[in-house]
Amino acid sequence: MTVALITRELIVVARRPVLVAAVALYVALLAGFTLIWGLKLPALTGASVFEILRVFHWGLLATLMPWVVARCHALDRGDRFVMLSALVARRPSSIVLAKVLSLAGVLALIAVAGAPAVIIAAKMSALPFSAVTRDLASALSIGILSSAITIAWILRTGDVFTSWIGSTVTMAAVLTAAARLTPAPTARDLSMLVIAAAVTAAAAAWSDRAFQYCHE
C-alpha cells in the first residue's frame, strides 16, 4: 500500500518541468566545471582535478538536490496532509516515508546523470575507476540525506523557498561536519545514511502527532 504512495509521488515528480531543467543544469555545470578547470585552469593547491571537482560536486548537490525536492514533490501541507492521510487510511508517517523514498530515488537518477563528468575528471587525474564508484556512492548518500532533510523542512515550514534555503544550509553543515569528522569515504557515507534515517524517523514520528487532526 505504501507502493501506491510512492507511485503517486513519482508520477507527480516526473511531470514537473523543473526536474528536467534541474538535471540539465546539473550535468551542464558539472561537465563545464570539469572541462574548464581540467583543461584551462591550473590547480593552485596541487590538488587533482578530481579532488577539486569533488568539492564543487558536493556543493552543487547540496544546493540543487534540496531545490529539486522542494519544487518537485507533491506539496501536501497542513489540513491537506491530514485529508490525504484520511483518504488513503494510512498514518502520516507512511506518507512521509513514501515521500523520502521516492524522492531519494529521483535524486539517485540525478546523481547518476553526473557520472560521465566524474569519469572524465578521474581520467584526467589518472585515478582508477574505483574512485568514480566511491564518488557515485557519496552522491547517492547525499541524495538520500537531501531527501530526508528537505522533506523534514517542508513538513515543518510548509513553504517551498524557506525549505530550500533551510535544507541547503543544513546540508552544507552536515556535509562539512561529515568531511571533517569522518575522512574515510565509506564511514562518511554511512554516517550520512544514519543521519538520513534518524531525520526520517523523527519527521515521521512528528507527522503522526502534527497531522493527526485538522486545524480548528
Partner: protein, 223 residues
C-alpha cells in the same frame, strides 16, 4: 443488525463557541442517516469528528468497534469522507487518482472497474483533476470513495456543485452501495436528496440565547 457507528455525548467547542453539545448518534450496517438543519448547525463539524478529522472536546465515537477518539488511524480504515475540501490531484489524471486511492486503500480494482466508475461519474479518464470544475472534482471525490466501498461513508453536502443528471446518477450509486451494506451518514440540504437515499434523518437545530449559542439538539424522525 450490526452497529457500525456509535457516537455518544459528543461535544465540540471552538474557543468560547459551542459547536456541538450532547450529540448521540447510531447507525447500523446498510443504513443511511441524513443530517439536516440550517447552515451553522454543526453538521460539518459533526461529520469531521465522525471522520476523525477533528477531535471532540468530549464524548466517544466508535466505528466498527474501534474507539475512534483513542485510535483515529485505526478507525480510518473503516471509513471514507467526502467534504467541501477539493481533491488535490497534483497533476494526476482522474484515472490515476482513482487508481491511487484504490491501491492505497488496498482495494483490488482492475482497470475496467476504474473505467466504469469514471464513466458512471461522467468524468473523462484523462482529465487533469486539478483543472476540473468544482462539480467535476466532487464527481472524482465521490467516485473514489464509492470505488473503495468503505464500511462507513461520511458525506458533507455530497451533491453540491452537481448538475441534475449527476445528482440522480450519484443518488442511484449511493443507494446501491448502501444496499450492499455500506453505512452512510450524509449532511444534505435538499428534501429530494434525503428522500432518495436516507432511511432516517437527524435534525441539528441552532438556538440562540443572548450572545451565546445553545447546543445543537438532534431530533430523530423517520423519512
Amino acid at each position: 443488525m450490526t452497529t457500525v457507528l456509535r457516537a455518544s455525548g459528543l461535544n465540540k467547542r471552538f474557543g468560547a463557541t459551542i459547536a456541538l453539545s450532547g450529540i448521540d448518534l447510531q447507525a447500523a450496517q446498510g443504513e443511511c442517516v441524513g443530517l439536516v438543519g440550517p447552515n451553522g448547525g454543526g453538521r460539518s463539524t459533526l461529520l469531521k469528528i465522525l471522520a476523525t478529522l477533528l477531535r471532540p472536546t468530549a464524548g466517544s465515537v466508535e466505528i466498527c468497534g474501534v474507539d475512534a477518539v483513542r485510535a483515529p488511524f485505526d478507525a480510518r480504515r473503516h471509513l471514507a469522507y467526502v467534504g467541501e475540501e477539493g481533491v488535490a490531484g497534483h497533476g494526476l489524471s482522474a484515472h490515476e487518482y482513482l487508481a491511487f486511492v484504490a491501491s492505497a486503500r488496498g482495494v483490488q480494482s482492475p482497470r475496467s472497474a476504474i473505467d466504469d466508475a469514471l464513466v458512471r461519474a461522467g468524468v473523462h479518464a484523462a482529465a487533469d483533476v486539478d483543472t476540473l470544475s468544482t462539480g467535476g472534482r466532487r464527481r472524482v471525490s465521490l467516485a473514489a470513495v464509492l470505488l473503495v466501498k468503505p464500511q462507513l461513508l461520511l458525506l458533507d453536502d455530497p451533491f453540491a456543485g452537481l448538475d441534475a443528471d449527476a445528482r440522480v446518477a450519484f443518488s442511484v450509486w449511493l443507494s446501491e452501495i448502501r444496499d450492499g451494506g455500506t453505512t452512510i451518514v450524509a449532511a444534505l440540504n435538499e428534501d429530494r436528496d434525503v428522500r432518495a437515499i436516507c432511511h432516517r434523518v437527524v435534525r441539528l437545530e441552532v438556538k440562540t440565547s443572548g450572545a451565546h449559542r445553545v447546543p445543537a439538539v438532534p431530533v430523530v424522525a423517520s423519512v
